[in-house]
Subunit: 389 residues, 2 copies
């Protein structure tokens, strides 16, 4: 396996864009990425498309050649990867492994979702397809309900409070307000977060991520070819892993932790030769505030049960010891499902390059991205670092 | 890149199974495959699932861990691949490349589709999602219409006749009648084929493949580990390629040929060090009879324009010079979209092993499988051979 670098990134704004279709978003992100790398479509040797539910949201399937063709990319393998909310994380994992193993040199990975053209009940129904349709979904358990159960159990077992959950929301809204590409650029107070409209007790509307449209793209290449592309410093993928688990939440022994995230984290840390202490900042999958707290623990940033206390103490803020979701996270930046995994990689690269503007953190040599599918059936963890830092 | 072998195959029957759900079909094929290889779920290092439209057909997404978990496979990468009718061909391609490059040793590839639970107009709408929703689909062009245009043009340009199309149907029905796992085991006459109910002129119902439920699975491993598994002779993947093109048919200069199939074929032949003359038998993607004729030409089995004449002369029958679709093809065996690509690999392996019963062809050292997505936007070509033959 040879070292692999991210040589270009590109994102659309995340938001509700009634006049944009799925393809135009994906193409915009892809083109921005090639421009960032100063690369041409003809240099792309393989095309990886992460998308959760294009057929259900907009009636379009066969999405990889559909997007690639519009970018002028044909004659290469072009494939769609689906792994629920970790769809583009899975696409990224497969692309990185293929380049690491020498199957391809340059690979373009695009994540996209166009969600806001459907009414809310239909969106909930489509998202429920990431759960077990024959069991939990049939019983009426949507994702807010599943994560509410996780929150309840975490509170019972570890003393996590609603203030802890709210602290995550307040911090992510503060970060998102500084991100020009975020969906909801709105600072909120702890009181507002605590008094949000209930969704699934104990989760309020401020504990839930946003339904968004958007796309993100990264171009990868072997590290020894990275210098051919435009950007300095060079950013290397130090570790990466994708791990699966059962889909239904009721198959899990302990719902306050995700075994797939722990395993993917351990594998990625081992590959990178690093520990959680080495990570300067991370983008974690805060589909709900409780998910950020669980990720904080599963990735080893705080001891088991301490994730909520860690957030409430400010440790995960921009100036804290372990800044999490400096982009605003899924909570405030938005969660166009299929774009989220690759979007996280873009956000980390932006920080590592020192290009994060008002959100820039002081220490930015090594960053981690964690992408979650469903209630833990898919986890992808990637660790990126500045070469020579 | 190291040599890769198919060490196990497993299929369900293809057909209409109102009392079976998607997962039970996929698990049956996967378990049969592991049994065939005498392998355990714990030996599977990566799980590749090919599925076109599970969310639309049965409301279930996140299908790879959903199926893998039910087989007792967790803790590994489990990912769904979607490339329209070439979904499991794409999954197989990525799995083979990953094993060839040393990313994994054993990989299980399962293809599945459950289509018959939806009424016919809904099935047509879901299948149309493999075309360009903003262009041709909006204009009312379903897949039978698109392939009817291809047939019309092929007739005009090369003198292909309705009798040529019917010859393909008659041959595939004759083969399928001998296949215990085929959906429609019914011998038809040339006259019946010519007088079928019109679907999209010049195509009749006998020119169109079947809407089916079904699943297929293959287990792959490095050739130097193949002897650890049950089967002899050993079957090696000699060449493989996946190539993309534009989705919409109107973007193509010449609709009587698929550039992606030609390119994938050339690449696979080159990798294998073989020519079309070396291929003893092939499974080609006869979603419509005209597609088999075009594939015959694009893969170099007959000169351009001669595919129909070649079929009518009996060259593609079980006793012909180039037996095509000895399984009965999509036409008679059935076309559970996401299962088709891996199903073709199973059918080729069965012939190479000499296990094809009444359909067994005399020369069976080297076989080819060609899987097509949409009207040519994805093509996967695989060449398999008996080791030491």
């Amino acid at each position: 396996m040879r070292p692999v670098a991210v040589v270009g990134i590109g994102k659309t704004a995340f938001g509700a864009f009634p006049d944009r279709d799925l393809r135009s978003l994906a193409v915009e992100a892809g083109n921005r990425c090639l421009e960032d790398a100063n690369a041409q479509p003809s240099q792309v040797e393989a095309f990886y498309l992460g998308n959760f539910a294009g057929p259900s949201f907009v009636g379009q399937n066969h999405l990889a050649p559909y997007v690639a063709g519009a970018m002028g990319i044909t004659g290469v393998p072009a494939t769609r990867f689906e792994a629920a909310c970790a769809s583009s994380g899975a696409a990224f994992y497969h692309a990185v492994m293929a380049v690491a193993a020498g199957i391809h040199d340059t690979a373009l990975v695009v994540g996209v979702e166009k969600m806001t053209s459907q009414p809310t009940p239909k969106v909930a129904e489509i998202l429920a397809g990431a759960g077990d349709s024959t069991g939990e979904v049939r019983a009426g358990a949507t994702f807010p309900a599943l994560f509410a159960m996780i929150a309840r159990r975490h509170m019972h077992q570890y003393g996590t409070t609603r203030e802890h959950l709210a602290a995550v929301a307040v911090k992510n809204h503060a970060n998102g307000a500084k991100n020009p590409l975020a969906h909801m650029r709105k600072v909120i107070t702890l009181e507002q977060a605590l008094n949000g409209k209930p969704v699934a007790d104990p989760l309020t509307v401020y504990d839930c991520s946003l339904v968004s449209d958007g796309a993100a793209a990264v171009l990868i290449a072997p590290l020894d070819r990275a210098a051919e592309f435009a950007h300095r410093p060079l950013i290397q993928i130090l570790g990466i892993a994708q791990i699966s688990d059962h889909v239904a939440l009721d198959t899990k022994d302990d719902i306050t932790t995700f075994a797939a995230v722990r395993a993917a984290g351990e594998k990625a840390y081992k590959m990178a030769g690093l520990t959680p202490a080495n990570i300067d900042l991370a983008e974690v999958h805060d589909c709900f505030t409780i998910a950020e707290i669980v990720a904080t623990e599963d990735l080893g940033f705080a001891p088991k049960g301490q994730g909520g206390f860690f957030a409430a103490a400010g440790e995960t803020s921009l100036s804290g010891s372990k800044p999490l979701n400096t982009s605003g996270g899924l909570k405030s930046k938005g969660h166009p499902v299929g774009a989220t995994g690759v979007g996280q990689i873009c956000d980390i690269v932006q920080q590592l390059r020192g290009d994060a503007g008002d959100r820039q953190v002081a220490k930015h040599s090594i960053g981690l991205a964690q992408n979650l599918g469903g209630s833990g059936a898919t986890a992808v963890v990637s660790i990126l670092g500045v070469v020579g830092a």
